[in-house]
């Protein structure tokens, strides 16, 4: 069973994605901040990380930077999940704009980790 880590400070967002992905047969773990997300990523080395960019304290960019620095986590694919207008400039494996479109979420996730 593929393990997906969701890092988002918004509880509703985490819940929605978790419910959708669990329904599609993925194992889901949640992190409510960048810092927690990083430690969970190190601890569990998930198959995929779905990352919100706009977070207080450790934001999405810092999380990405620190993941890339660590040999253990640097190869984990990342899907950006954000309401930002210009996502194209971020070096990531996939993008899911807010508000979330369920079909697009499922499609993108399956494209990245099969």
């Amino acid at each position: 069973m593929k393990k997906i880590l969701i890092i988002d400070d918004n509880q509703q967002n985490r819940l929605l994605i978790k419910m959708i992905l669990q329904r599609k047969g993925y194992s889901v773990i949640e992190a409510e901040s960048g810092e927690i997300g990083l430690s969970l990523a190190y601890e569990h080395t998930p198959d995929l990380i779905i990352l919100d960019m706009m977070m207080p304290e450790v934001d999405g960019w810092e999380v990405m930077e620190r993941l890339k620095k660590d040999a253990k986590t640097k190869n984990i694919p990342i899907i950006i999940f954000s309401a930002l207008d210009d996502l194209e400039s971020i070096d990531a494996d996939g993008f899911i704009p807010k508000p979330v479109d369920i079909n697009k979420l499922i499609q993108t996730v399956s494209e990245v980790i099969g």
Partner: protein, 667 residues
Amino acid sequence: MRLKSIKYKIVLSFLVASLIPYIASIFLVFKKGEEHIINNIIDQQYSQITFLKKTILRDFNSLHTELSFWSENQILNDILVDDIDKRIQKFLFSIKENKNIKGILFVTNASGMIISSTEKSLIGKNIPLNYLENYFSDIHYFEPLNKDILKLSVPVYSSFQNQKIGYLVLALYPEYFSQYTFSTRNSINSIYNRKNRLFIGSEIPVPKDIKDEGYFEFGNFLTIYKKIDDTYLRDWYILLQLNKESIFLPLKSMEIIFTVVALSGVGIILILSAVVASRLVKPVRLLTETADHISKTKDYSIRVSIESEDEIGILAKAFNNMLSEIQSALEKIKQENRERLRLFTKLIEIINKITSANSEIEVINIVTQELEGFLNIKKVEFTRERRSSGVNIPVNTESLKGFIHFDLKRDITSEEEQFLKSIGRMINLYIERLELLHKAQSASRAKSAFISNMSHELRTPLNSIIGFAQYLQMAETDEENIKAAKSIELAGRHLLDMINDILDFAKIEAGAVKVNKRSFPVKKLIDEISAMVQPLIQEKGLKLILPEITDTVINTDYRLLKQVLLNLLSNAVKFTEEGYIKIDIRKDNGKIYFSVIDTGIGISKENIGKLFKDFTQLENPLQKKYKGTGLGLAISKKYIELLGGEIYAYSEGEGKGTKFEFYIPLK
């Protein structure tokens, strides 16, 4: 030679100076000479006339003497004898012929009857005795001859008894005097009897008041006269008329020689004076030409080279000195101008630095560093307290309070003080401006941050609502519930659209929209947009016509352009119930034109102008009829303007579809 030149004046004055003695000589020589010659001639001619007079008188006397001598001839005794007059006749003729007498000789008896004569008609005529006794009669009319004559008579005595037996008479014609007249080419003379106005010789005009002797001029002639005043001839004159031309002939030739000599003299003087004047004028002209040349070329390094020691030389030296003075004065002015320009440039640099300063304290630093050494400023400092020395320019703004202190090398002039005060005013003004700018910038930053924050805060819960509504549609099996979840999603999306519009508009108003240009192929944009709108179009049963895809690459803000096209397309879908929606692209003159054409409800002409007005202008015709903020077109218009383009709407009228077209630069 120029007419007004000095040379001309010199030559002219020389000419006048040489002509004056010439004219004076002519006057003196010729007038005086004439007088002299006339006097000479008169003297000379007088002696001639006197000589002539003496000759006439001597001849006359001798004639009388001869007559007395002839009267003593024996033959005349025959007077007493009748019929012997033939001998007397012969005697008389012989005398007449011998002596060539111009007149008549006759003999009377004692009673006065002419008994013999060289003129036969006289014989037998009686002559009064008293006439005969008078031995001389001046010119008078002699009746028997019917002629004017002069008469000489001598008594004839008989040789034996010494008894008067008759008279021997000589009647002389005035022509007698013609032997004393002559006529040459230049002079004539005449013997003149005043009483009878008789001229022997040529007739010469004679004035009435003629004296004993003298001369008179008549026309071109000079007449000299003398009276023959004698016992016999009392009223006779000798006249001598001379042609004046002949008198003055030697004078005339002298005149010509004199004129030739004088004119040659004048000519020589003219040439010499011209030469002298040229020598004199040449340096003056050199000076003039140099001055002209300098005034044209402005080359004050030129000098005149005149080495003479005279006044001209002094003038040339003075001229050269003046040129040196001008040259150095000009040099000084140029130097001063350069210095002034340097100061001015420096000042502009300082002002430039001040105006490009980013902080208030930077302005103060620039002033204290750059103004040092400017004019007579020794040191510039910013102080909190006013100092007693130098010049203190107060700085009194919200963020800075104190004095710019100028330490000066010498006393300040009022102009310099004015200058420093102006600098002070500028510093205060600029610091205040910076303060205002910083305030505005921080206010703007706060506004942008707020909007960005609000955007996030508003959309986050809404995103959850939409997301969960979607989830329910997926997870629920009850049709009614699925419909309800669908309604929640649609309402949420609608609300999200409106919030997005309002936030976009607010960002535009706050000036917080940044244009981030990058290059991308148009095809990519069209693909993305068509993928986004395709589901909506299909849902309404419409057809989407896409442009022929080209490999055109444009450099613009991807997000803004995408948003505009999406706005136009979603409007088209919203207002079209059947038919098609078409996207057109064309390039022209460095611009790219995008058109979105639909077959929808169209817009009336009067409403077209109101389309792009924002909500502050109300009256948006679409807003009333259809749901939405109505800000989509206003935002699109602003975005297109930010990208450097323009947007237009066209419609044939209500029910005839709409066409929106805009252009932006390709780069």
